[in-house]
Symmetry: D3
Subunit: 252 residues, 6 copies
Amino acid sequence: MRHDGRMADMIRPVTIETDYLIHPEGSVLITVGNTKVICTASIEERVPHFLRNSGKGWITAEYSMLPRATGQRTQREASKGKVSGRTMEIQRLIGRALRAVIDLETLGERTIWVDCDVIQADGGTRTASITGAFVATAMAISKLHIEKGLAKFPITDFLAATSVGKTVEGELILDLDYIEDSSAAVDMNVVMTGAGAFVELQGTGEESTFTRVEMNGLVELAEVGINQLVEVQKEALGLVAQLIKPKEQGES
Amino acid sequence: MRHDGRMADMIRPVTIETDYLIHPEGSVLITVGNTKVICTASIEERVPHFLRNSGKGWITAEYSMLPRATGQRTQREASKGKVSGRTMEIQRLIGRALRAVIDLETLGERTIWVDCDVIQADGGTRTASITGAFVATAMAISKLHIEKGLAKFPITDFLAATSVGKTVEGELILDLDYIEDSSAAVDMNVVMTGAGAFVELQGTGEESTFTRVEMNGLVELAEVGINQLVEVQKEALGLVAQLIKPKEQGES
Amino acid sequence: MRHDGRMADMIRPVTIETDYLIHPEGSVLITVGNTKVICTASIEERVPHFLRNSGKGWITAEYSMLPRATGQRTQREASKGKVSGRTMEIQRLIGRALRAVIDLETLGERTIWVDCDVIQADGGTRTASITGAFVATAMAISKLHIEKGLAKFPITDFLAATSVGKTVEGELILDLDYIEDSSAAVDMNVVMTGAGAFVELQGTGEESTFTRVEMNGLVELAEVGINQLVEVQKEALGLVAQLIKPKEQGES
Amino acid sequence: MRHDGRMADMIRPVTIETDYLIHPEGSVLITVGNTKVICTASIEERVPHFLRNSGKGWITAEYSMLPRATGQRTQREASKGKVSGRTMEIQRLIGRALRAVIDLETLGERTIWVDCDVIQADGGTRTASITGAFVATAMAISKLHIEKGLAKFPITDFLAATSVGKTVEGELILDLDYIEDSSAAVDMNVVMTGAGAFVELQGTGEESTFTRVEMNGLVELAEVGINQLVEVQKEALGLVAQLIKPKEQGES
Amino acid sequence: MRHDGRMADMIRPVTIETDYLIHPEGSVLITVGNTKVICTASIEERVPHFLRNSGKGWITAEYSMLPRATGQRTQREASKGKVSGRTMEIQRLIGRALRAVIDLETLGERTIWVDCDVIQADGGTRTASITGAFVATAMAISKLHIEKGLAKFPITDFLAATSVGKTVEGELILDLDYIEDSSAAVDMNVVMTGAGAFVELQGTGEESTFTRVEMNGLVELAEVGINQLVEVQKEALGLVAQLIKPKEQGES
Amino acid sequence: MRHDGRMADMIRPVTIETDYLIHPEGSVLITVGNTKVICTASIEERVPHFLRNSGKGWITAEYSMLPRATGQRTQREASKGKVSGRTMEIQRLIGRALRAVIDLETLGERTIWVDCDVIQADGGTRTASITGAFVATAMAISKLHIEKGLAKFPITDFLAATSVGKTVEGELILDLDYIEDSSAAVDMNVVMTGAGAFVELQGTGEESTFTRVEMNGLVELAEVGINQLVEVQKEALGLVAQLIKPKEQGES
């Protein structure tokens, strides 16, 4: 039994509140246990320089934490005048993950700016950001689809993420909170589609290692969690969820 | 009658939700109409260099807006690598205002970091930040007072802020929202104590001017609004409000 | 009696030397007591991006102090790699103040760059900058008017600034020098037109407050000082002063 | 058959030249096909702030490419004034990987600075950097061990890295060069110990995904390559290789 | 005859006004033709980190131009957020030059900060800065000598600088103004002591070259100018000049 | 006799390996004793803004050192976020020197980017960079000449550089290594053409001076060294060397 009473293969309670803010095209507040992230999706009718006249769109993400999202106040990156390596890694990960399930040609020459702002942190902020950002993006694209009449709905599948890990005692656990994460021997973030394909797999032993058997155990736990997250996404999206029609597995 | 149905001397609906986040010593979500700001107060047991061994404490503030707090997405200051002049002005204003009602010697050699993060913007974000930050700071100091047993409660009076303005038609109005603010001829931010003394008065005519009579009219409107804001603060603070015992006017 | 022998309502000796430098379109050396500022106005035949094809011009200001303008050497902002919050506030104030008395449509699509460089500081550098910058700008615009034949002279009124304050003993005084400024309970900067309208009013109690009666007393003192400053400006401008024909009060 | 004639499970020719530079405590030139990286290890007799008086050492890495390491000249990060997200990700990866096989307590309170400078790039620069950096670090630590007489040799196992990928045709291949990497559907970087345990696994589908079967196929290919890289490391290290005595698998 | 009527071997009119500002320990306004520079010397009672506990002092210089010192307004380096290569070169040159004639051990563990701010530029700003900075520094050190009673006067000789150049017609000229400088084939800055020794010699052909004979001709012209500059320095320094007793040539 | 056995007028062993890297248009590894620099020349088919539509080309240089090129690790400028004054001085020197022997009009509207990266430093890195950069640039331009058929070969003469110095004992020496350089009383860098004309002469006494006689002695030593360096360049360039046909001396 874990410190908060969960079994090894249980995720924390998850809620996704859509249309959380009035200005953005898509916005959600996602809560995963005590982790809370505001995710917004903004549509801009132009693309970065390297895509001009390509007919293709782009999705890019930014991530930040409020200074007191954490137990100790962290200095603002704006005050420091630069973005940390950790933030850059997470921003790149979120953008890359979303691009895997969005058909950029159908989207057309526009950019979706995804912003994930962590209001409260208790482990798993990057995976909660991806899970929430997917819903905000789907909301924004559905509005775009209605207004502009795209050739088809450009989202090709659901997308969610969770973390799994190995404790120093060797136990494999799902959806680590901050206490578990800071003492884990191995930490793995997994991003998967609704159809069960991997988009991103990042397993890391900080001063530790893991075996092939453990890798497969971790990945199986992640699948358990992601299936549940996709169900919460579907509920939050309501009718919009029906626009997302994944290709049969194997096609990708 | 104003575009949202208010009379000239009416403020928007205001709520202050305390203990909004689990980590900070003090935190609120303040909403003023559609403007929403998360204000937190963090206590650090040391002071900036210029106050070491002075026996005095310090209060400093930082302010930021989520990129989609606004109708158009604004670029993150962390991405730009520098804080704008507007942000610096607001940060300095918030810190200066709070220092006027907090006895830094009673506080002792510690720093209160105030963070105001605008989640949603519809005019008056700096004055909402001050009004909310006061409550978050009072909550944090009350916890400190209980834990450390300060000589007395170091907050000497309530503190709230609002904006007033002159429309291009010459009408004086209270608590401008974004539509009103962006077309106003004169804009004035007023910070006052519960006892009715001015802490800060910033009246600005952008490509316009104002007379002495108008100045007095604006200041009177601000008093009306600030009295109501202080009532909301008292309710939000509950028992903590009773620890704040302003000196008789004239003493300061 | 004040430490330098002045009465409460006296300003320091003021001189404005025009055509101080050979290169700029307009330039002055203004001295207010021991405070000395070089103000220049440069005309650029284009406007910032947000005004392209608007038919309107722009005025922007930059402010700096030589490292040894002050008693202690201050580090250069160029060496620190960023401009301080104080500098940004002052720059924004100078630009905003000048824009209040210049008809940007008559100016046409050009930018006036105002530079205020403090050579020697003894309190009141921002208000001396505004008072001097107005003269430098008027000189530059008069040359422009002669060369290009504008529809009319685009300066609609004189503009000057001074500071007033409340001492810790509660006395209200005009035109504070550094010694007075650093110990004042309340500090107020006032920018007014020649016709006596307010352009900017910034009253601040650093760890102190002020009443409505004090506010009115401070503002009256400021009027006394600004009237004298405008006379010095008129003398410095000579014939150019006659081109400035304020609208009747109440029109603005 | 691949474009350069290799089979799917073949790595490119690898050489590691030790003592490549005269100044650093450890230095190598590693070549993997046309990819060439200078890796150095420098020992500093102090640790970062967060480890002072902990008795533990630290290993940190920096990574850079010469502007013309690539086909098109890339702008220097020093000229841009900031390090890119890609560089930060790689730097963090190299440092984290090395820390997994070095006993920081035996190392004692000193920092090993690893520098990887890519002289010529043809795909796989981050994995070549890890493989080369391990050898440079082992050389530096062996000198330290001789000079200072550490309690034991603090390197607990060999460490090497390679990339594997899935082509758009679905084939799994080992050690991708630039041409293969830029067209791959899935790219995975794998860092393993000499004993065959995973230290880091980063699989990414850029606008694509992969299945569990493919994940296992990729990991198996990586093992093939890493075993060969460890052999080249052993040869380069000569007698120093004998100081590295991995724990039995399962112990970690 | 040159465009301003000077012969090839004539310098422009030079004046040095001492005690130009009230705050710095030493300050001058130097004018060389239309070039005007404010030079100040500030004494700080500590040294940079690399000289702590060495018993030696330090001299460092900073250089800047007002935006409208030049015909076209130049952007402030503080606004750009970085100091240009040209500025850095000049700053390093001024500091290095002064250190050649100041005995840093006699100075003791203190730093002299030299600031050269160009108010008006017409060629030769770096050499005017050196010539003026020498006088400001001598003034500051003389005050220090009186207050602290140094073992001896630490300035070992006079120091002045000028520029020489070769026109595109091949003529060698002394003390180039802006018009001459911008069209010169070869530009050489020469810093010499009062005793006639070289401290710095920087000859540059921008898209051009020069012979040994020309080099000697340029250097001879420079000597002519520097002798006259040292006379102006002596007059400006008055009694302080008598404290400077150069060693016999050959001793250095 | 010098510490490494050389006579005062001897340079260190020099080699220049051309086509050192596969990607750049021109590249060399130059070694001067223990100093090793990779120099590359890249051709870009456009010019900086100030040369658009001028018909002229441009040459610009960047310089960097690997962190462990030196005995003590030096921090990366990319990590510090800015380029040092020393680096800027050297970059500007390299670019200026090359421009003296390249006919920018014949080159046409294209930019040559020269990159000098010091792999190992033992004194004289800036002069080795110039000597190597000349060869890399000649290689790149010869390829350009073949591909594009320029009107003539735009390099007008050979160009090489060396350092000379005066020891504290007063001896004049050629091609200083790090030990000699760090203790020298006077340091002079000389850039000359194959025809023996000066392009750049930078003599500096750090806390010391030099006489006219010493200046001439230093310059003569430099000529000896540069003649030998040009011979090495000719050999390295092979047939390309024959395309370089200097004008008769006196023409320039």
